[in-house]
Amino acid sequence: MVSDTTVPPRKQGYRVLIARLLSEPAFTVIGLLVVYTLAVTAAVPGFLGAGTLSAIFISLLPLLIAVIGQSFVMIVAGIDLSVTATMGLTSVIAGSVMTANGGYLADSALAVPVGIFCFLFFGALVGLFNGLCVAFIRMPPFIVTLATMMFVSGAAVLYSSWHTTSVSIGGLPSGFTRIGYGTIGPIAFALILTVLVVVAADFGLRRTTWGRWLFAIGNNPTAALISGVPVRAVQVSAYTLCGTCAGLSAMIYSARLETGTPVLSQNLLLDIIGSAVIGGVSLFGGRGSVLAAFLGVLLLTVIDKGMQFIGLTLFVVLSVKGAIILLAAVLDALRLRYAEGKS
């Protein structure tokens, strides 16, 4: 206490192990992934086949994009509950533009580009609104985005009801639906898109000043402000990017479903936030990476598909996923305790 060279207190035995495991959630996730895959394969030998795994991989891509967006927000110690609602809204707006059944730009060459623009633009718009409320009015992110979620999902249903008598907008042009499962050469188009997002996000987070600012704000917003970080602008940027990612994700989902629908991703919210937490993006801010988002999405998707493969009912799958997300949140809280030395 008196001497100047303070050495961190040495932890012993199992505490070291716990601390290590906690500080690197990636190890835990990879370990669980291997154990789980082997267990499912033991029960149903076909699971480890190349066909199943690549199907799983292709299916998780849009989820990964949404989780990356969510991670930006979580790193600045926020949360965005409105992402799935945003996805529904962008889906019906873009659908109403592109659909052959009386769309604004039906059969026009501009339909697909404008449709894609709608996904990104309206996604960003909702994110921007969330960000402005959080950064400038200083509202708690939970309340802002919860309210936005309700408003936007209601608006999405209302909007689609103006354009169609059924719930969803069908008749999307094939140029658009190709985004879902189409390929460029041997490579899935959705994969290329996702890789671009992953590379850009990873570069942004780890290599740019903006990335450092995100982490600094999530860790200590006051210290960041005094150090000259444009705190508000960076917060707004995180929410806006989260909304944009949601729009991008909705684009792939809509293309796969070949419809624009307000209930596009109704049950995905917990998957999105849960994946991020499982991978190690902290609910308390200041921690996270694209790798974490990826590992979280991978584990959650593999577990989901694995249980479906075994033939378990949806309710069992839901409970197990819930349990895993809960466990991850507990680990996250423990990690904070160890990191802050409050154990």
Binding site: S3, V7, P9, T209, W213, A216, S227, P230
Partner: protein
Amino acid sequence: MDAKAVPLFECSGINKSFSGTQVLFDVGFAIKAGEFLGVIGENGSGKSTTMNIIGGILRPDSGEMRLNGDAYVPTQPNDAMEAGIGFIHQELNIFGNMSVADNMMIGRYPRRWEKLPFINHRAKRLATAEALKRVGLDVSPDAPCWSLAPGERQLLEIAKVVSQNPRMIIFDEPTTSLTEPECRRLFEVIADLQAQGIGIVYISHVLSDVQRLSDRIVVLRDGHAVKSTATRDLTRDGIVEAMVGRPVSQLYPDVPPLGERRPVIEVQGLTQPRVLKDVSFSIAAGEVLGVAGLMGSGRSELARILFGLDPHDGTGTISYEGAPFDPSPRDCVSKRMAFLTEDRRHEGLLLTQSLTTNLELVHLSGAGSGAHVPVDRKQQVSNAEDVAHRLRIKARDLVRLPAKSLSGGNQQKVVLGKWLVDAPRLFILDEPTRGIDVGAKEEIYRVIAELAGQGLAVMLISSELEELAGLSHRIMVMSRGMNVGVFERQDGGFDRAAIMARATAADVEAA
């Protein structure tokens, strides 16, 4: 006062270690009924640890404590209160959302019926009113606590302790958030408690208070009780020397000579309603301007306005390097203004992040740096190494070790260091040595003098007049949001009595 042979409270041979580091060595002292015992020492000298042991918050590794001759072994804070030892913590434990009476009686509400959990609100109010009267606090038991002034909160806390009939009360830095009249009120209450035979243990950094009020003084240094003497046998220099462990004149480096006067910042008639009133001053390159004043005199508020952290919508102008300037933190950083705030943990550091991350933060927000700019990690690490070397930051690993693992002194050097990466032109230092040990203090003093020698303008805010006198070229005294006088260094020193008198004068007039 020395009526009884058995002291009211006595402890001896107290040892305490935290994770292998011993922080208390054979500490012992005694206090008689009605006695005022001052406990002083640098931060980290073991004062708080000792008091936390007496208060039952920590347990000693060895040693014994006696209360009226009986063994006293508290295992939790409640044991201390039940034995008759009250503890007024520096951080007040007041619930602002509840009433005065609720704060007073929480944990021991009177019940309407013995066995049933219904609060007897009448009894609660009566007991509260009674306790408030004992400390002369004139507020309603029903008043919400957020409406109390800091001094009233302090008295409420005392009333809470007094109502439980203590034999001894420990005060930990009770005056830090009080105004001058509030302090005098507090001292009256304490004198009254003494007269009732209650022993007072009083921890404070304000040596003049301790010297004036105490019967005896215990000085702690590096976990040893190095002195326990009747106050009348001690001189001020003697006390300081006992605290620091060497004569004080060596603590401060030579003040670098001032060349031609080139103002870096000029403030004209700065006024912010209820905060500042017509403040004017300037700081030249290479000059250290000390800012003295009591708590609440507007010193920190001035600094926060200059850095754009608090709004300035009143009148007055700020000009920086010859151009008018409307500050915002981001502008300030890009114009090479630096600000070390008084709250290192909450406003200075990213505690769980590495030193490199902490040290690069200002640089990454500095002139010409935008969000898209890629971070050159090698450059950041080498910048961090440079600064760590310059400031002698003692850390084994700049890249992986989190800032919280450092001692207070080294943490403060990290906050200082993050501003030095980009060679600032004006450095505002608000209480730069609060809560750090003497060794680190001396090094920070050396850095301040060195930076001034290189032409940096420094605004040094401190509650320790000694520190200001040791480092400044001029000292501006603030009181009630006003600049009430500027003192020049003469014959290598300042007239400290005059400065102190000026700082307290306005308050006395107003009271």
